[in-house]
């Protein structure tokens, strides 16, 4: 059984049809890239999966459960995690508190009020900061980080609750080549326990880390399959790769 299955997703904003019958299937431990020209519907598809938008038509099932109408919080509790396209770390809080905030989301309100999980989560927070090479700056506010480091922090926040599915919307946007390379290295190990859907414009980055690719054009799925298969598809080269 697939971990995530989106079927016939349609999303209409006024007169604009952003998605027009898109299907997507993600297996356990699969790294799946979403590519396509600007305005092709990649981010809208991602938002419909994450719960930021409710599809006009179609269904989304996650772990065998229909979550089409579920709130983002319910999806997060089910094991889905999202990194937004625009970096949205909490700038006034320290890096430590940003990660702790992500980790403690499933704690009951009573336990939050009594700070019962603070000690338990401390090691996890530090381990996550260490993994993302941010541990030396744990006590600094997130606003003090460079753009690339803020992207890492947000990926670390999304990964902290150990989701089953991680959705990354343009995680390397604004990063240097070196930072992109490191981001790839940081993501590879999560494959052991997590699936990944990634929207990205950097095709080299996508090729390096993804098992499968889906190409969108004008709200529809143009091609889906292994990276090699999609790359060699003439239709894709015509519509997307040449433009890129």
């Amino acid at each position: 059984m697939a971990l995530l299955e989106a079927k016939g997703l349609v999303k209409i904003f006024g007169k604009l049809t952003a998605l027009n019958g898109a299907d997507l299937t993600i297996a356990d431990n699969e790294f799946h890239g979403l590519i396509g020209p600007n305005g092709s519907g990649k981010s809208t598809l991602m938002k419909c999966i994450a719960g930021a938008e409710t599809p006009t038509q179609g269904t989304v099932t996650f772990g065998g459960h229909d979550i089409t109408q579920a709130s983002p919080a319910e999806r997060a509790c089910a094991g889905m995690s999202l990194k937004f396209q625009i970096t949205s770390v909490l700038p006034a809080l320290t890096l430590y508190d940003n990660i702790l905030l992500a980790l403690q989301a499933q704690t009951s309100l009573l336990n939050l009020a009594l700070s019962r999980t603070r000690g338990v989560l401390h090691d996890k927070v530090m381990a996550m900061l260490e993994k993302f090479r941010l541990v030396d700056r744990a006590h600094e506010p997130a606003s003090a980080l460079s753009h690339g480091q803020q992207q890492w922090l947000e990926i670390a926040m999304a990964l902290a609750p150990e989701p089953k599915l991680l959705l990354l919307d343009e995680p390397t946007g604004g990063m240097s080549l070196e930072e992109r390379r490191v981001t790839g290295e940081l993501l590879q190990p999560i494959k052991a326990h997590c699936s990944l859907v990634i929207v990205e414009h950097d095709l080299d980055f996508i090729r390096d880390i993804c098992d499968r690719l889906t190409v969108l054009d004008q709200g529809q799925i143009l091609q889906t399959g292994s990276v090699q298969h999609v790359q060699s598809c003439p239709k894709v080269q015509e519509v997307y790769l040449r433009r890129a």
Binding site: A73, F84, A102
Partner: protein, 318 residues
């Protein structure tokens, strides 16, 4: 340090003040409690409540009616009643304004609460049972057993006792992991919803808690003044509490206290010294602070890091 200094001054004040000034200072302490209630919702959770007086005034009216109609003045009954009334009204208004499927905008909540405050003010003015324009005068004093608590040092120390207890509870809560969740709510509500936080629940809880504190303040105020009147529910006092907190520094408990004390002390001094133009001077002063010190007076004394605070363990500890 700042908090300890404020506490020492607060405890010693009645020893050096004349009686009429102690009465004034008691009123200021109760208003500090009221300011804390607003600071929780706006400063910590980012919910703009322009109708905080609804909870303050409704509790004031509630305990006044208990005293007038049922002769209930025992502190063990009237203060919990005030607290509950504030809590219930906040839960009702908060439920209506905050608990929709989609997050309510700041403007929607601000205007909704402001409208609620205005409507309650008009309702009280027009309702004969509540005394109409004149409110409810001659509320009998609050009692502890057979002892009557009237205005003066005893009432002052009771008020400061409640202020300390509420302050410490809020401090504990705001520095807890719950406080971190509220900081997340204030900074980026959508982000924390995607972590799995039930943001509507968080909002309802903090809004109701704030209503309960405002209710406690309202009931203390009613017995201290000896009467309640429609202004206690209205827009003027709802706005006044916003100014206290903005002036002192929202998002810090001590800021709310400092803002209330400074505004009330300066108002008192100006109204004696410049009887005709004191509101204008005060207005200009408030404007200057808000323009040049948007983080409030407390930003003169605390760094931004100290104001925001840390919620986890010190990162160095392992």
């Amino acid at each position: 340090m700042l908090e300890i200094a404020a506490l020492v001054i607060g405890l010693l004040l009645p020893l050096v003040l004349q009686d009429y000034l102690t009465v004034y200072a008691t009123r200021v302490l109760i208003l500090c409690l009221f300011a804390l209630s607003f600071d929780l919702v706006w400063g910590y959770a980012g919910i703009m409540s322009f109708g905080q007086a609804v909870f303050f005034g409704s509790a004031g009216y509630g305990v006044a009616l208990l005293a007038r109609d049922l002769g209930i003045t025992s502190i063990l009954l009237v203060l919990p009643a005030g607290l509950l009334i504030g809590f219930a009204f906040a839960l009702l208004l908060g439920g209506f304004l905050l608990l929709g499927r989609h997050p309510a905008s700041v403007i929607f909540v601000a205007l909704g609460t402001l409208t609620g405050s205005y409507a309650c003010d008009r309702l009280a003015r027009g309702w004969y049972y509540l005394g109409g324009q004149n409110g409810i005068p001659s509320i009998p004093p609050m009692t502890i057993g057979s002892y009557e608590l009237t205005e003066g040092p005893a009432y002052y120390y009771m008020a400061i006792g409640f202020l300390i207890v509420v302050y410490l509870l809020c401090r504990f809560l705001m520095r807890s992991q719950f406080g971190l969740a509220l900081a997340g709510l204030r900074e980026n509500e959508q982000r924390i919803a995607f972590f799995g936080y039930k943001v509507q629940h968080l909002k309802a809880i903090i809004f109701s808690l704030s209503g309960a504190i405002a209710g406690l303040a309202g009931s203390l105020y009613a017995f201290h003044e000896g009467f309640v009147w429609p202004n206690m529910l209205g827009v003027v006092i709802s706005t006044q509490v916003v100014l206290y907190v903005l002036f002192g520094g929202s998002g810090t408990l001590i800021g709310a206290v400092i803002g209330t004390v400074v505004i009330e002390a300066v108002s008192f001094w100006l109204s004696n010294s410049y009887q005709d133009i004191w509101p204008i001077i005060l207005g200009v002063l408030l404007l200057l602070v808000i323009l040049f010190r948007p983080a409030g007076l407390v930003s003169l004394l605390l760094t931004e890091r100290e104001r925001v605070g840390n919620f986890g363990r010190s990162p160095g500890k392992r």
